[in-house]
Amino acid sequence: MFDLGPHASFIWLSYAAVALVVGGLIAWLMLDGREQQRRLDELAARGVRRRSSGRKS
Amino acid sequence: MTAFFALLKRDLLLAVRQGGALGTALGFYMLVVTLLPLGLGADMNLLSRIAPGVLWIALLLAALLSLGRIFSSDYEDGTLDILATGTLPMELVVTSKSLAHWLSTGIPLALMAPILGLLLNLDLDAYPVLVATMLLGTPAVSFIGAVGAALTLRTYRGGLLIALLVLPLYVPTLIFGMAAVNGLLGVSGTSSALLILGALSLASVVLCPLAAAAALRLQMQ
């Protein structure tokens, strides 16, 4: 790509680390969200309801 | 006020009778200091240079060992419940127990340091300076440690957890303790470190019981 000087690998590594961690966090957040929603839908399908609402949340 | 001193006296008597905890802490202190020359080589010049720092660090680690017991034995046999409902406010109960810990463990460790200093070829001038700074700084060690003990009271095997929680909080005590030693020896820095160390100890005596008492109340619900 562009010449980042003699220490280019440090720059790449830093950005890679950030991308990895941030990407990993986002992935975890989205997967976790989907999992919890799935469990809620499952429970709702089995007829388990919350006291406060008569409909799905 | 008499309740405070009665509790203090009782805890000190218990500590004296069950010498085990103090013995373990002192033994651990000695062991860690012994490991140093074994690990780093017996170069007496090197050892004497690092001796004050090593003695301070090992003291913190040894104190950590004894922290779990500040509240746990009373919690287990129900005494803590009685104390909680008694006339003494929880904050003063904590103050009394932390003070007992300082008197029964902190001070002995500080007094042991010069003896261990012999093993590390500690500078002769440094002996009184080291003990003085440790006596000044160990109240912070006991009172901050009590907060950790209160937070981990009901944790099974809380020993490691308390180390993780408390050691970062010990950093200022360590830094100012060492700075005070160096300042008094004229090696570097000023004598302001001694004052700051004292302030640290005083502040921890006043503030830490608040946090620890709050934690204890939650633990006992």
Partner: protein, 252 residues
């Protein structure tokens, strides 16, 4: 007229509100970060540090977030203990792993930046040391919460620990600074020299703002997940209880 926090105290309303807000915040974050990085890489390299100054665009925001997130946790903890705000613990619990991650990134990027600059992967200068200790405070929060099964107890004890931490943090920072004035490390280069030039500052502010929005988006999402998780648990508990009472009734 209720304040925002009061209105959002209801989890359902929070879910609605955050659900609508989230896409916008995420988009804004991506935009700001992209702009910041583009400007950052098209600016001329710093005359002292060469190209490695580009690491600043992710290191400084990470370090800033490390501190800011702890403040969020402390404020949430205060909200829990003093105001008993219903979502305070959700906020604190969601923020802790995020804070630990950004602190770790600050350390890693700081170390990788330090190697070409100072020749070593680590120096015990005041800033890096403080961030390292901050990392341990985060680990402590996570460890304490993990060690307790009772969620209510865990929420309040970690809140106390967070508040103890926020009080100790300036003292720790002060002590580390103090230690450093006594033994100055070999050379601690300030970013870009005594002042940061504008061509470096603008991208930095952009990425810093972008990262902050990024955290906000992740925090909201994590809070939403946690709210769902607690609903699941409550429903599972209700289901078990219902089955239990039904069993008892059938046995008569």
């Amino acid at each position: 007229m209720q304040t925002l926090t009061q209105r959002l105290a209801n989890p359902t309303r929070f879910m609605e509100f955050s659900g609508r807000l989230l896409p916008w915040i995420s988009a804004a974050a991506a935009l700001l970060i992209a702009c910041g990085l583009y400007l950052g890489f098209s600016a001329p390299p710093d005359y002292q540090q060469g190209e490695t100054v580009r690491i600043m665009y992710i290191h400084v925001p990470s370090a800033w977030l490390a501190m800011a997130i702890y403040s969020v946790i402390a404020i949430s903890s205060f909200g829990l203990l003093v105001f008993r705000h219903p979502l305070a613990d959700v906020s604190a619990k969601a923020a802790v792993p995020l804070g630990a991650a950004f602190t770790l990134l600050a350390l890693v990027t700081g170390s990788l930046w330090g190697r070409p600059m100072w020749g070593t992967y680590w120096v015990w200068d005041a800033r890096l040391t403080s961030v390292l200790i901050l990392f341990f405070l985060y680990l402590g929060l996570m460890a304490l919460r993990a060690s307790l099964e009772d969620e209510t107890l865990a929420s309040k004890l970690t809140a106390i620990l967070a508040l103890v931490g926020i009080v100790m943090l300036p003292i720790i920072k002060f002590s580390v600074d103090f230690a450093n004035t006594l033994h100055q490390p070999s050379s601690v280069l300030r970013v870009g020299g005594p002042t940061i030039e504008a061509s470096l500052l603008t991208p930095l502010l952009l990425t810093a703002a972008g990262f902050t929005l990024l955290f906000s988006a992740m925090h909201l999402k994590a809070m939403r997940n946690e709210i769902l998780r607690r609903r699941v648990k409550a429903l599972q508990l209700a289901e078990v209880e219902r089955a239990h009472t039904a069993q008892l009734a059938a046995a008569e």
